[in-house]
């Protein structure tokens, strides 16, 4: 993997050298690295990175919380599912990117509109996985819990939650990467901080190296979140891995 990356960087450097590309079209890796160090030392990268991270984490938590709550209700009630199904499918058919400008108009260019976009992005995959996960709980195990007169809370904590957890975490894994996209889309549409804002600034000033720094940081952020969920899966699903 290290070799692949080194090779890639070398190729990139060569391309810039051979084609004599100006830095505002394609900066050399070394320029990107320099810009990265500068952005890091003047604090701007940390500030904007932290802003995006905050949006992503809050949006992800809200989205997961509401989606799993609603998913639980839907899994329990066919009636509710039948009533809400068309709305849910329709809401999913609307791309979040398309309504991001609306949300920014309605809720301002502050953090709230981004958290909302994030939450909406992760909402559907987590919701679907919650319903599928809970429906997959074996009926016989429910009977078993009932025959032992388990309370509703015990049935939830000892049966439904652990049984649905693998599918639930699968939804979270998809949601984690999606939420980064959601936050950046929101920031690109309108904001005064965040990595999307940083990218916009770079673009406006023909500081393409800064755009690269922003994109790479975003990739790192997404990978970090993804790895976090994978780590969580390893911790919580030990019985599946051994």
């Amino acid at each position: 993997m290290v070799i692949t990356i080194a090779l890639f960087l070398l190729l990139w450097e060569l391309l810039v050298l051979l084609l004599q590309l100006p830095a505002f079209i394609l900066p050399a890796p070394i320029q990107v690295a320099e810009r990265f160090v500068r952005a890091l030392s003047d604090g701007s990268l940390l500030e904007h990175g932290a802003a995006t991270l905050l949006e992503v984490v809050s949006g992800l938590s809200c989205g997961v919380l509401f989606a799993s709550l609603l998913g639980y209700l839907l899994a329990k009630s066919r009636f509710l599912e039948n009533v809400l199904q068309p709305f849910l499918v329709a809401s999913q058919a609307v791309p979040t990117i398309a309504i991001a400008p609306l949300l920014v108009i309605w809720f301002g260019s502050g953090i709230f509109s981004k958290v909302l976009i994030c939450a909406l992005t992760v909402f559907f995959p987590v919701l679907v996985n919650t319903v599928v996960g809970l429906r997959a709980v074996p009926e016989n195990l429910r009977d078993l819990m009932r025959s032992m007169r388990a309370t509703p809370w015990q049935t939830f904590s000892q049966l439904e939650l652990p049984a649905a957890l693998p599918i639930l975490l699968g939804g979270l894994r998809i949601g984690a990467t999606l939420s980064v996209i959601g936050a950046v889309v929101g920031e690109l549409v309108g904001s005064d901080r965040g990595l999307g804002f940083l990218i916009n600034v770079g673009r406006g000033q023909y500081d393409t190296a800064l755009v690269f720094v922003g994109v790479l940081t975003l990739v790192c952020l997404a990978v970090l979140l993804y790895s976090l969920v994978v780590w969580l899966e390893k911790r919580l699903l030990r019985w599946k891995l051994d």
Binding site: N140, D143, R146, M148, L165, W239
Partner: protein, 251 residues
């Protein structure tokens, strides 16, 4: 042994009819049975006749649409349930699966652990205490399920074709195992089975149900001496009873 004559549970004119969009389905008709303390009762009958429905009713998972279930002292019975599939929780180790019923009742850990260890020993799974259920064979998983059913010291042990998914050899071994456990713990057992010989080898009493709607066709005490080894199968008494049951079922 206390020779109590009162029944653990008494089924009086039990009626069960399911309703759905296709109309009604009468499953049980006028079932009349007394289940006595510490007896081993086997329920036989054609597939789909409602044996499992009867068992689910005894487990308190289903209320009859007619008739009465009378329990001794009018108390709610504690039941231990074993299905055809072991239905272990894959995210719990063998030990934790067995502990589940006590955990739900909030029994202190030390006492619970002691009981679980005793049961693991009784079913001979000491080496598998901390293993995930996935790595157990079918027979071993069923032993864990039996241990789990027994740990709360239930008034009634209910077995729904517990060896139905095992191969013939394992099945015979598990039958003997179950008898040993039953003799050690002296529980009242109700077991649904498809196998006439299994019923005759295990039971004190065999109940034969008819096609749906199920009625009791035959209530047959099995007075073969215990222990019933392999030879018991070939005794004239055994053969005669098997013939009688087969005759009743095929009517």
């Amino acid at each position: 042994m206390t020779a109590s004559t009162a029944s653990v549970i008494s089924l009086q004119h039990i009626q069960m009819t399911f309703h759905d969009q296709n109309g009604e389905l009468e499953v049980l008709r006028d079932i009349q049975v007394e289940i006595r303390p510490q007896e081993f009762l086997c329920v036989l009958g054609p597939s789909g006749c409602g044996k499992s429905t009867l068992l689910r009713m005894l487990a308190g998972l289903l209320a009859p649409t007619g008739g009465q279930l009378l329990k001794a002292d009018n108390q709610q019975l504690s039941v231990g349930l074993v299905f055809q599939q072991s239905n272990l929780m894959p995210w719990r180790t063998v030990l934790d699966n067995i502990l589940l019923p006590l955990e739900l009742r909030g029994v202190p850990q030390d006492a619970a652990l002691q009981k679980a260890q005793d049961l693991i020993e009784l079913v001979g799974l000491q080496e598998f205490t901390n293993v995930w259920p996935e790595s157990l064979s079918g027979g071993m998983a069923q032993r864990v399920a039996i241990a789990r059913a027994l740990i709360q010291d239930p008034d009634l042990l209910l077995l729904d074709e517990p060896f139905g998914s095992l191969d013939a050899l394992t099945r015979e071994k598990m039958g003997a195992e179950l008898l040993r456990i039953w003799q050690a713990r002296r529980k009242t057992v109700v077991m649904v089975t498809h196998s006439i010989s299994e019923a005759l080898l295990l039971a004190d009493r065999v109940l034969v149900l008819s096609q749906r709607p199920a009625r009791v066709l035959l209530d047959l005490p099995v007075r073969l001496p215990r222990p019933r080894g392999e030879e018991a199968r070939y005794s004239a008494e055994f053969q005669a009873m098997a013939k009688q049951i087969r005759g009743a079922i095929s009517v």
